[in-house]
């Protein structure tokens, strides 16, 4: 049994009359310590997938298991990093992380908790910015705090929901490097959701494309057998990188086309002109 396992998972939203199926028959297996990326179009249902694994929503059909236990609700064992950071603006960076630590390690002494908060702030490179409020931090720094908050709980699995989606290209590149470094340091099981194929190749062991919604489902997985640490500049010249990117992009585009063809009304051809002889 895999560490994270989804089988036959479907999820719809809305009332019966105007029901739209977001995810349909999703099957996913992630091994312990594996870094898996799911790439898909915006609005394909990527966030819904993360919400289901996080336990923020329940699937309509199918089962989700993490560490051999069925997912019944949210848990500190599954750390989530949201796209929009979701930091509490009235708390400092340090207090935001401390809130999570206090909840995940309630029995630890105050010093142990404080030490843990400091360790993870340092890990994400924010050792000196702990006293600042989120509004005083840049987007990249806020997301670092969110990563520290999720990691400090020492979760069994880390769920990253387009964590770099709201950042500019340069900040994005530097944070991708940070995530790779942090992952190599403690080898957590990670599920990264992204719309950036290159980001997925740079970070993941295995990449799975998510088809275009509605009723999105997962495509065939692609293994990334590139040695780590991966260097962005060398990677872009590597033929294996190009092959993986080509394969994923081709699959995604094909799924998008299929979806378009399915949703377009059948082309109405002009009916053959029949002249009826009037009686």
């Amino acid at each position: 049994m895999s560490f994270v396992s989804l089988s036959g998972v479907s999820k719809s939203y809305g009332t019966t009359a105007r029901r739209s199926e977001v995810l349909c028959d999703v099957n996913l297996e992630i091994e312990r310590g594996e870094f898996v990326a799911i790439v898909g179009f915006s609005g394909a249902g990527k966030t819904t997938l993360i919400s289901l694994i996080a336990g923020l929503a329940a699937p309509d059909a199918g089962s989700i298991r993490v560490a051999d236990k069925p997912v019944t609700g949210p848990s500190t064992q599954r750390g989530v990093v949201f796209q929009n950071y979701s930091l509490l603006p009235w708390l400092t960076a340090r207090e935001n992380v401390a809130l999570a630590v206090g909840q995940a390690f309630p029995k630890a002494s105050a010093e142990e908790q404080a030490e843990r908060v400091t360790r993870y702030l340092v890990l994400v490179g924010l050792g000196s910015a702990g006293g600042k409020k989120p509004s005083e931090l840049s987007g990249g720094m806020r997301q670092r705090v969110a990563v520290a908050r999720a990691l400090a709980m020492d979760p069994e699995v880390l769920l990253l929901d387009e964590p770099l989606g709201a950042l500019d290209a340069l900040t994005r590149a530097s944070l991708q490097g940070e995530i790779a470094r942090i992952w190599q340091a403690d080898r957590k099981t990670v599920l990264l959701i992204t719309n950036d194929v290159e980001e997925a190749i740079l970070l993941a062991d295995r990449i799975i494309p998510l088809s275009h919604g509605p009723a999105a489902t997962l495509g065939p997985a692609v293994s990334v057998d590139l040695e780590r640490p991966r260097d962005r500049r060398e990677l872009s010249r590597d033929p294996r990188f190009k092959a993986i990117r080509g394969e994923l992009v081709a699959w995604l585009l094909a799924s998008g086309k299929q979806r378009k063809a399915a949703s377009l009304p059948p082309v109405a051809l002009p009916a053959p002109h029949v002249v009826e002889a009037s009686a």
Binding site: P74, T76, S86, L88, A100, Q103
Partner: protein, 263 residues
Amino acid sequence: MLKLSVTEKWVSYVLLPALGILGVIGLWALASATVVSALPSPWKTWEISKPYIVEPFQKRGELDQGILRFTWYSLGRVAKGYAIALVIGTPLGLVLGSSRLFASSFDPIIQILRPVSPLAWLPLGLVLFGKPEPAGTFTIAMCSMWPTVLNTALGVRSIPNDYVNVVKVLELSRSRALFKVYIPAALPYMFTGFRLSLGIAWLVIVAAEMLTGAPGVGGFLWQEYNSLIYEHIILCILTIGLVGYALDRLMMLVERRFKAASA
């Protein structure tokens, strides 16, 4: 550029309001001199009110005291009723905002009690407590509670989904979620409620004092009406207005601080 904006500020915050006040005083003088002769003129109002203003804390008798002394009594009464309103209203609003069941059960009754006038609560307070002083406090609390209740509930209902997700993902306990997330997130709304509540509490004090005859600005106003000293009615009206304005400004400053802190 900077100099111009300073001038603009001076014009819009000092010059124009001063002109407006002078204009109204002019109209008042004109009216009392011509059509409504029962209305005391501005000059006469000042003459008769002067001892109460220049010696604002003087106590000459139970119902003959400086205007600020009366104001102080009134503020004390308002503080009591307002404190009760906040102590009851805030938790009520938190529960109302967080529980759909509770909201469906109690929203109608709140909507019915909310528009009831202080003049209607006071007799009930007299029946319940037997004495005018607690009846006044009861009236102030009953009337001023509602903005706090409704705005707190609105604040809790308006908490962004992101924060609710944080509460869930971090598995925060109920008390931690309340004090670390829900209350800070609802605080700007709550303060709007507190400010509106204070405004109503001050509005109600006059009615309460007029009916109970307690010493205070409202009581003084009613007594001077009965003694036919109409100038003092105007003095009381102006005092009530100024104090109400000052209280509102004060609350707005506090509110702004909290809004800035939570942004």
